[in-house]
Symmetry: C2
Subunit: 134 residues, 2 copies
DNA sequence: CTTGGATTTGATAGTAATTATCCCGATTAT
DNA sequence: ATAATCGGGATAATTACTATCAAATCCAAG
């Protein structure tokens, strides 16, 4: 682990918001929510803090959503179920899967693996009519 | 399959550039390269065309790189090996892995799955000194 | 408690990727 | 041929994110 980061009210507020949060919020959502309780919070601080937390491996930055980065306070290996309609992200366990043949990874040093399942959540299936097409 | 898209010189040029391309280029790279041969090509057309190709499932849009979207003309199931330093992306076969327990996927309709392996390519391992740190 | 240095904050400007708009030209249907 | 539709090019607008920097805050030493 790198050197510890200094705890500040702003950082505490962000960590408190993220703790146990399963919604995989974007920086914008984090700002909006935390700002309600701590109006002195600035956007830059959100990005700064997320950056610090990333370096500490206290938060994961997900690129699952092409539109914006999403943040996940769970940092044990796990995978994600992404709804292609509403962009909701659900954690699922990492079921350890067959690694590709050694040849394919030749020379690479693997640090982390992540499975993304793209699909439709129950709600969005209904919204689409599912069978009626939209 | 949706309705067929109209073929135009611009679209043909982009498809020609993408065909067999393993570099997973960004829209910017596609524009730059195609523009060399077809100077009348505009940026908007690149995005329009990629959009059309996506809808036809003739190209995949990858969100592996948080900074920009990357495009992949291979649309059979396969996974990716991503270098966290140089951001290069290498195709690897999809080795079909243990699906999560039915419970976790409850109610979801899975359309596609994708494994991303984050690591260091041989070149970047050397650049880092790998043991010397940089 | 005060000083001093380092770090963090917050406002904002800047950048880069992507999307929207608008109008023209090409193509298609009638 | 005419009207409607669609694609293309230029560019403005939007959005997410990064950089900058003065002022506030914290921590250690005295």
């Amino acid at each position: 682990m790198e050197k510890k980061i200094k705890m500040t009210p702003q950082r505490a507020a962000i960590m408190e918001y993220l703790d146990g949060n399963m919604s995989h919020p974007s920086a914008d959502e984090i700002y909006t929510e935390v700002h309600k309780m701590y109006p002195m919070m600035s956007f830059a601080t959100v990005y700064n803090t997320l950056d610090a937390l990333k370096k500490q491996n206290m938060v994961w930055e997900l690129s699952v959503d092409g539109d914006r980065r999403r943040y996940d306070p769970r940092t044990e290996p796990h995978d994600h179920l992404v709804c292609v309609d509403c962009r909701s992200i659900k954690d699922i366990g990492h079921n350890g899967h067959k690694c590709p043949s050694g040849d394919e990874l030749k020379g690479y040093m693997i640090l982390r693996e992540h499975v993304e399942y793209f699909g439709l959540c129950p709600k969005c299936q209904r919204k689409r009519g599912m069978g009626g097409d939209g």
